[in-house]
């Protein structure tokens, strides 16, 4: 169809005014709109004029029709945008320097563009509370602009922890007193006002770096290498593995390892579990355990499925465990002197490291988790521009992952990696085509039947916890059955769309971050986890003792109650 925007004829297949305008590089300010969510149409900043209409319409939720004539900027439009922004600022406490959106804040950009007096009305929420969910997320409700994206995102996750309650005459976003937070951080990713932030202080990492008797060891997750570049103005999906290492060296970090190698250990162990359970026909389907939000969700809401969860530790926990055991021993280091830090795309990983079930010989395998965003801020604070750094090689021992370890960062990666290994164990043959393309991509639920020997194995890969919940309900009713293995990542797209990743994050960006990881895999000589020499070596040298192997490689789960929700202010 043909429509007219600002006097210009535009050919379009349809969609909302905002979508069509965006595709044609016509800027319409949209604050509460997020491509992941149905338009809530609540901020009323994207208002535009349609010829023949008496009233303005929101561009985010108004569909185009043939012959539609749209005006996106006029004095009236400017005026209402300005006033609505002033009203929005009147409920948003500005703490810009400390904000997740710092530098990329749409509120401030619009304030500038529309000459908004941000203090025209007195902040009405300055006395509103700050909530903290576990040791992971803080929600400062004095910054909330009531768009309710967080509530919708939380509902889409099947969690319904954030809800709307009427207090006095005003509705507020509040934590539920019934449902519990699973720390996925999707609220944070979808909040345009920076009201949500992960818990963490620069001091946690800066102090140990200064302590001479501490050995600071870093690891970083697969998906960081294709996302953190964004924080430094690089294109989506830029691969910056070596630059991350260079940045860490500049900070004075002693040793830097790759969580992807941890993932190779996870794959090797998990594949063995899958093989064992297939052989004994017990506790099938195997449910993956790399995603701490998913594990927490199961422990609280589906405790009957606990026996199905793979007991293999997640990559960061395995690598952390190996650093404080095998690596420490090899290098004659007292593990108590090691300060182990990981950079994760995830806020729930902060919770994973304090789970007592994950301790190794009484120690936390990882002492501190920084999200991708937090690490970027740390670099910026130290005036390190990642973009300008020359790539540096990682330290030995845990530096060279298989391709399987790298794709862990995208939905389907764990399953694909596990099956590259499990296939060979089950059939005693070499797997020729290692790519399981059926489980790749951004689709929420992916299913495949894989021929392993004479038998076909049904597998499912789910990203987005709400879809996983629906899947489990369908299984309960017998609508879905016969699966050998189910991979679940709580966040859309898997870790590349995690709650600790740079914002904005949306489907287009997630896809680019994932693609980069698959390209790394494709170029790798070794693409199966169990063929990684370091995995072979440590299994042979160190993990042959079964009891020890269990302590380093496995964890346990139990039915859990609600996590702590406290009011900080």
């Amino acid at each position: 169809m043909i429509i007219i925007i600002n006097g210009k004829k535009i050919k379009t297949g349809g969609g909302t005014i905002l979508e069509v305008a965006k595709k044609n590089n016509i800027e319409i300010p949209a604050l509460c709109n997020h491509p992941d969510l149905k338009p809530g149409s609540s901020c009323r900043v994207c208002m535009v004029e349609i010829k023949g209409n008496k009233k303005l319409v929101p561009a985010c939720s108004t569909k185009v029709y043939p012959g539609m004539e749209i005006i996106t900027e006029s004095s009236k439009i400017k005026k209402v945008r300005k006033i609505n922004l002033e009203l929005l600022f009147s409920q948003h406490k500005e703490e810009c320097l400390d904000c997740v959106w710092n530098g990329e804040c749409s509120l401030l950009d619009l304030a500038d563009k529309y000459k908004v007096k941000i203090n025209r009305f007195k902040d009405r929420k300055s006395e509103y509370p700050v909530y903290q969910f576990g040791n992971v997320i803080q929600f400062d409700s004095s910054k909330c602009i009531d768009c309710r994206n967080c509530v919708v995102a939380c509902h889409l996750q099947g969690v319904d922890f954030l809800e709307i309650k009427e207090k006095g005459t005003l509705f507020q976003v509040v934590p539920s007193t019934k449902n519990d937070c699973i720390y996925c951080g999707q609220c944070l990713i979808h909040c345009p006002a920076g009201a949500f932030e992960s818990v963490g202080e620069f001091e946690d990492i800066e102090k140990p770096l200064k302590q001479k008797d501490k050995i600071v060891v870093f690891q970083f997750a697969p998906s960081i290498r294709s996302s953190i570049g964004e924080e430094f103005g690089m294109p989506y999906g830029s691969l910056v593995t070596g630059k991350i290492v260079a940045g860490l060296k500049k900070l004075g970090v002693d040793k830097i390892f790759d969580t992807c190698v941890g993932a190779d250990f996870t794959t090797s162990s998990e594949a063995l579990e899958v093989v064992e359970r297939i052989k004994s026909n017990k506790n099938l389907p195997v449910l993956t355990s790399c995603c701490p939000s998913w594990v927490k969700f199961l422990e609280q809401r589906y405790p009957q499925l606990i026996p199905n969860i793979s007991t293999t530790r997640s990559p960061q926990i395995i690598l952390g465990s190996l650093i404080k055991t095998y690596w420490a021993k090899k290098n004659n280091i007292d593990p108590k002197k090691i300060y182990s830090v990981s950079i994760m795309p995830c806020v729930a990983k902060k919770f994973e490291i304090i789970r007592p079930e994950n301790n190794v010989f009484g120690m936390h395998p990882v002492d501190c988790v920084l999200t991708t965003r937090e690490f970027a801020r740390l670099l910026m604070k130290h005036k390190i521009d990642l973009k300008k750094l020359k790539p540096v090689k990682m330290d030995n021992m845990f530096s060279d992952p298989s391709g399987a370890g790298v794709i862990y960062g995208a939905s389907g990666g764990v399953m694909e990696s596990a099956f590259r290994t499990a296939y060979e164990h089950l059939t005693n043959t070499k797997l020729k085509n290692v790519e399981f393309k059926q489980v790749r991509g951004m689709q929420g639920v992916k299913e495949a039947e894989i021929k392993v020997g004479s038998k076909k194995r049904k597998i499912a890969v789910i990203n987005g916890l709400g879809l996983a919940k629906q899947f489990l309900e369908d299984m309960k009713l017998g609508k879905r059955k016969g699966y050998t293995c189910i991979e679940v990542m709580a966040c859309p797209g898997g870790c590349i769309g995690g709650g600790g990743q740079p914002i904005p994050t949306n489907s287009e960006i997630r896809e680019k971050r994932a693609l980069t990881l698959y390209q790394v895999d494709k170029k790798k000589k070794i693409r199966k986890a169990h063929e990684n020499p370091i995995v072979k070596k440590i299994y042979k040298e160190y993990l042959k003792d079964k009891e020890l192997a269990h302590k380093v490689l496995h964890t346990s789960y139990s039915k859990k109650g609600r996590g702590l929700v406290k009011i900080c202010k």
Binding site: S42, V80, I83, R124, D146, T169
Partner: protein, 324 residues
């Protein structure tokens, strides 16, 4: 029942009596022509504006005619069934009466949820679907996609009363008016729809003999009229409230903001924040004209639903005409 009811509705130029004044025939036609296997009819008996109770009066006195109107819609629109959506108090008082007349018809009674907004047409659809009482984004309008995504005709109690009368050939082009405030004979009156506010007040013996002003078209959302402006018909809902000129305009505005703040859903910025700020400004008893006119503009132009889009009216007209 006349053969072509749509033609009759057009002939009488029947306009919806909820206050929006949408042509009834057009609405009926849209739903009738929409292609769908199932369609719904909703009789909206959830009036919620202060000082307005004409629907209650109609349900109390003419339930049979209202049901007759719904029956006419059922016959006109194929594959349809109906709901009578009643506010709690009306549900409790009139269920029995209504049930007697709807015996055997595909009409169900439903209880309203939520406050004033619970009576907005898309909110009704949400409530009947068992969801939270919140407005949907329009378009699509209910005539296209309403209850469970089906074409849905939502009409006010009084509109169905009029249809009932038309179908019986008894329609006299009347309208119901609630008269309240500083008057001698409060109540609901059925009078010719062409009557002006002045005529209504005179005819009912309610024309004041003191200085006064009037809120016409709704006890919260209606506009303020001065005595010299009464030679016009009631716009909006059939409601006239008379105020003695001595009435403190700030306390009156406070009544309105209290109503709006309690009843709005807080979803869109202009309504949530705008009304909050109006309340704040009038509490100071000092009119900040620039701020208020800005807020009125965004309410009118950018609100998500009719509540916000009309809420500015009483304040604007009161400030302009009374406070000055």
């Amino acid at each position: 029942m006349p053969k072509n009811i749509l033609k009759e509705l057009k002939k009488y130029n029947l306009l919806g009596r909820s206050g929006s004044g949408f042509p009834t025939a057009l609405k009926w036609e849209l739903v009738k022509k929409a292609k769908a296997r199932r369609k719904y009819i909703i009789c909206n008996c959830s009036e919620g504006e202060p000082k307005n109770f004409k629907d209650k009066f109609i349900l109390e006195n003419y339930p049979e005619i209202v049901v007759q109107g719904i029956k006419t819609a059922l016959k006109t629109i194929d594959n349809s069934s109906a709901f009578v959506y009643l506010k709690k108090e009306y549900y409790n008082s009139f269920s029995n009466k209504l049930s007697r007349f709807i015996k055997g018809l595909p009409i169900k009674l439903a209880k309203k949820k939520g406050g004033y907004l619970g009576g907005e047409e898309t909110v009704i659809c949400e409530v009947l679907e068992g969801k939270k009482p919140e407005p949907r984004i329009k378009p699509p309008f209910p005539t296209e996609s309403g209850l469970w995504g089906c074409p849905t005709l939502v009409n006010n109690t009084e509109t169905f009363y009029c249809v009932g009368k038309i179908s019986k050939g008894e329609y006299k082009k009347t309208r119901f008016y609630t008269i309240a405030g500083d008057v001698k004979k409060q109540g609901v009156y059925e009078l010719p729809e062409k009557y002006t506010v002045k005529e209504i007040l005179k005819e009912t013996g309610n024309y004041p003999d003191f200085d006064f002003f009037v809120q016409s078209g709704g006890g919260a959302m209606g506009e303020i009229l001065l005595p010299k402006e009464l030679n016009k018909q009631v716009q909006g809902i059939g409601s006239i409230v008379v105020y003695n000129i001595k009435k403190d305009p700030f306390s009156l505005m406070k009544e309105w903001t209290s109503f709006f703040l309690a009843e709005n859903c807080d979803k869109c910025t202009p309504c949530r924040e705008g009304l909050y700020r109006i309340d704040e400004i009038i509490a100071k008893k000092k009119i900040n004209k620039q701020a208020l006119s800005d807020i009125f503009l965004v309410l009118k132009e950018t609100s998500l639903c009719p509540l916000g889009a009309n809420a500015y009216k009483p304040f604007e007209t009161l400030i302009k005409k009374i406070i000055k």
